[in-house]
Point group: C2
Chain length 327, copies 2
């Protein structure tokens, strides 16, 4: 009595069967999932495309990285609100050639990410298509009204970023330039393939009421900071020298790759960008669970982003991060 689709769904459900944080009353296999929301919490809801050609390359990206990253991207949005991920829906459209080994390895990467983020499969939809199409919805929660929005930055707030920017974009270049799927142990390539959403940091900044505004860096600092500023009806002044940047080997520098350019306009970092009032700034430690936290500038009144170049020259920073409609 089982059809092809039902068999596929059972394979997916069985590969992703691990214990979550609770709250799941009914998972895969009915018309919809049923969840019990935790009392005193708000529900966080987000979804993300992950499409062959746009977000990954079929012949360059290992399937377990595609599985890991499609969930990590959406979970990063929950981190950026200061919440905890709880459940996800997987929408997967695959060519007939990809339902064997490829799917198994993809699901292994996805299961590993689900266990790491304690985010459990609740349902989804599968169908056949010529290209690999993925969409992931994540449901999370945040206590009371602790969620941190993009819109809360105030004049004089200090601007922080976590980690080192531009690493993932540099990793993507290394991956593209490599033959086959090599270089996976390179730190930048790893960061591109298996990003770690800053869940603990986001939750801490929200719970302790430290961040006034927050978002994740997915499209590049120049674009994402302009979004945070637009939401907060403010501007920013940041210093090029202070941005923690990807470290390029000398050889790569000669290839005219610019670490600042990668840090400003490279996407996929999934670090957190957040603002803190000057009075609270001393509560921000130099590192949080091994991840560096760096003040790169401050919020200004005038709605533009000013970049201070080394030597002191100031320029208006244009949003030149990833935008599918601009490329």
């Amino acid at each position: 009595m089982k059809t092809g689709e039902d068999k596929l769904v059972r394979r997916i459900a069985s590969a992703l069967a691990f214990k979550g944080r609770g709250g799941l009353v009914l998972g895969v296999g009915d018309d919809a999932a049923l969840l019990i929301p935790a009392s005193g919490h708000q529900t966080i809801l987000t979804c993300d495309w992950f499409l062959e050609g746009s977000h990954f390359l079929r012949d360059k990206h290992p399937p377990d990285s595609i599985g890991w990253k499609c969930l990590a991207r959406a979970v990063s949005d929950v981190a950026a609100m200061g919440g905890e991920p709880k459940h996800f829906l997987l929408s997967l459209a695959l060519p007939g050639t990809h339902t064997g080994k490829w799917l198994d390895v993809f699901l292994r990467g996805l299961a590993r990410a689900g266990r790491r983020f304690r985010c459990q499969l609740a349902g989804g939809d599968t169908t056949r298509s010529d290209e690999i199409l993925i969409n992931v919805t994540v449901v999370g929660e945040v206590r009371g009204d602790r969620a941190v929005r993009r819109s809360g930055a105030k004049l004089g707030d200090l601007i922080f970023v976590s980690g080192r920017l531009g690493e993932a974009a540099f990793g993507l270049r290394s991956l593209r330039d490599s033959r086959g799927a090599g270089h996976r142990n390179n730190l930048s390539v790893k960061k591109h393939l298996y990003p770690e959403p800053r869940l603990a940091l986001g939750r801490w900044l929200a719970e302790k009421l430290i961040a006034t505004a927050m978002m994740d860096l997915s499209d590049g600092l120049s674009t994402d900071l302009s979004r945070l500023c637009a939401a907060s009806r403010a501007g920013a002044r940041i210093s090029s020298d202070r941005i923690p940047k990807v470290k390029l080997a000398r050889g790569k520098k000669q290839q005219q790759l610019d670490a600042t350019e990668l840090a400003l306009n490279g996407g996929d970092d999934y670090e957190l960008l957040f603002t803190v009032s000057p009075r609270q700034a001393r509560r921000v430690p130099p590192t949080f669970q091994g991840v560096r936290l760096t003040c790169i500038g401050e919020i200004t009144r005038r709605q533009r982003i000013v970049l201070i170049r080394p030597g002191g020259r100031e320029e208006n920073l244009a949003a030149r991060g990833w935008d599918p409609w601009m490329s």
Copy 2:
């Protein structure tokens, strides 16, 4: 400071700005949406692909129908649990050629569906692609533990369907056979293009504790009934004569279209399939808000579906509804 993607998102949000049922704290424009779940309710969560080529044809399906139907399909899953839709996420990937007029008309159909189902946009994701790719997530809710699952059917329960089956599949054929996008006023074509999820019926059956099991008919009765039976670890006996079928004009009959075949294996009806214990069966009216409710058979012990043909011949009914992996 706005990029192309941000402008597109604002256009979508503005086209879909209408008042919902409440509970939306933060909608489009941040990393994620924030919802306040209603106390004493469970959250219903579902998503559906709606892809060019598989689910609709770019040159046959009017864009406002694509907008309507991508939401109606997912809302129908909420109806099948006996719940109320509240919010949705729209994931939309479009070719550069489709961000003008096509998008406007698509959004008009989607907005009409959103207002009709009182289901409000909470967020989503947009990107560019060669084909039109849509994924919709719907969040709904249901009071207490009133949700109706597929798995509750018991031996002897009567099997009901709403509406008339096979109409949408017949409508699709008419649409395919037509030149251009004509025949939109034909009843079957309308049902294919603008399905009406049975929200009020589903809610009534759940609230009044009438249905023991329920699901929506999206892939065809033969496939969906076998799913309900598998979930309930039971079988079914249904009578071909009793299935409410699409009415075919004489001319179409001569084209060897079989109404029973369409009713059994045609998908896209978005009617409800539900089971009722014999003691509760008298509470099921012949029509509910103008929609016919018909008993087509009963739940049996042995895990197979038996179809009684006109004249009394019995046969095992195979699941031959829509399955992307079988075509």
